[in-house]
Symmetry: C4
Subunit: 191 residues, 4 copies
């Protein structure tokens, strides 16, 4: 299998995930502000999840660009990642509709964590396949963001039961950490 | 990242948006004319949104054809555009189900405006990247339609609260302005 | 615009249409035969619509293979075809849920007719663009199936109010006419 | 038609099927464990179906890689396979929501069986087209897994009415048989 086809299939799945998430924004029956107010947290969660899928799409592309040949384990590690990403619409809808109640917020963090681990497995398989001196290994370097993210997700899960808004702040922070051009934040974090 | 991949991903998202919009046309339970009559405004709004997504797809294609290299900011400006376009099914369903009530009509205009601004940002980034003497800058010229559209959307938002049908007429007018082959209308408008 | 991109976008839309149609097959709450029996007509309508989208996909591919350059009118004629095809899930769900009641059956025929006309417009534009001596014009020949289909759809619409099952028989007949390898039926019909 | 286009269209349909299956995981209204507990069987069925679509995607890719030219019958055999795969979301939702009740479990097996038969037909057509000495025929060898799977599905259908959990165990076993790298299990089974 060529990386091009793995990428095309993954792109298709990611395009569908990012688009069907919006279906959780159910059209309200009323036509006034009162009808749309309960949708505000659903909308904000949608924005957050949209950012995450965008970040995954971007990183996934850079990861696959370094791959020369796809074997069975890469293929299944990739499907494993897509599996956890496919739960984003559900996790988004559940947290959004319940205004960041503790359990849905913890669940959202768990899905982020499992997707992060799946990405890490996929990346490790590709690094191992191409050797520690490969372009990918060099590009990753110490991979601070990749290592810090799962730690933060894991911390946010118990935090959801103490203060779900703080857990949400962690999710937003991690998303921004990936959005902000690399140099600045990573330099700060690695000092 | 190559423009081809950015385009393939955007095409995938646009193809899904244009298709799931039709899910807002809920299958009625009855089998007579009375059952289908309330769907008429939903249908008309669907036609309008279909035209808008078609116009965006077409313009987006011409825009990306001029791009040689995609960098991080172009990538995120493109996702930003897709984000607002992903709200079309919701905005379409809300305005359609409420027979063009003021608030949903204003909301529809706001989504059009924000998508228009996102498109303008993407276009400006690409022009800046390729220089003022590039093929794109020449093709855009004074870009009358691109400048006039956001002004009209912005005017239609307060207009929705005075007369929602007039606001809808503005949305239809802007769509036709893009549909009608360039020369005629633009010449009229630029005199 | 290259035909390849028009085809990729159309393929995306067709793949989504053919797949979301199945969402009209709503998962029943019960777990016995009584729960699934009302779904039988929905299922049969789904099979019929699946065949039609398959036929359109196949014919559309052969049509675009002959195109060298896509201009604005071809692009919009293609979107016009996709518009009517996008109503298949709605028409399928409405006819299926109402066990082929007269009005939904006529509506299904109207959508088939309008999609057929849109296909004819697209084909005519392409033939005109490439000249009467082109490969496409030769391949079409007298285009019996293409001319007969709209006539049959148009006849089935009033027939739906007299006997909806006969109208459905017409829809099945037209689908089979396209499915069965060309030679046999066309020869019969052209005698 | 080139195999590349058949593959791209099939990939699109498979990507949509694998993603809309998750829509059967309806977002619950409550925010506690009691709200999410009834979703556990739906989730497990989703995992199983995700694996099956992943296996089909993988095998389908290897199958099409051997094809040089696509003719009409291959095209329709492929659509026939996609048809049965498109019923996965429905079968998954029905079995999941009814906690593996007999009839939905048997129905799930029937869809697996019919998809398996459709795959077998497609494969046989391609083998016949390329001759018994082709790369595909050699790669398939005695095709033990391909022959055993339909037998197991067919056995699981009546088994569903005696013990649906055993039938589910069969579905899981067949999925694992395809997941586990070929050599081991096949050697065991072929002794």
């Amino acid at each position: 299998m060529t990386p091009a086809r793995l990428e095309a299939f993954s792109d298709g799945v990611l395009a569908i995930i990012i688009t069907i998430m919006v279906l959780e924004l159910k059209v309200p029956h009323g036509a006034d502000l009162a009808a749309i107010r309960p949708l505000v947290p659903v909308f904000l969660t949608y924005v957050l999840s949209f950012l995450y899928v965008g970040i995954y799409w971007n990183n996934h592309h850079h990861l696959l660009k370094t791959v020369r040949q796809v074997n069975g384990s890469t293929m299944w590690a990739n499907l494993h990642l897509l599996f956890w990403l496919s739960l984003f619409p559900f996790a988004t809808g559940w947290m959004g509709e319940n205004h960041a109640a503790p359990l849905p917020t913890a669940f959202y963090g768990a899905v982020l964590l499992l997707a992060g681990i799946a990405y890490y497995i996929l990346q490790s398989l590709i690094v191992r396949q191409h050797g520690p001196d490969s372009r990918l290994a060099a590009a990753l370097g110490r991979d601070l963001k990749g290592r810090l993210s799962p730690v933060l997700y894991a911390a946010a899960i118990p935090l959801s039961f103490l203060n779900p808004w703080l857990a949400n702040a962690v999710y937003v922070f991690v998303a921004l950490m990936w959005l902000v051009p690399d140099r600045r934040l990573v330099t700060v974090l690695s000092e």
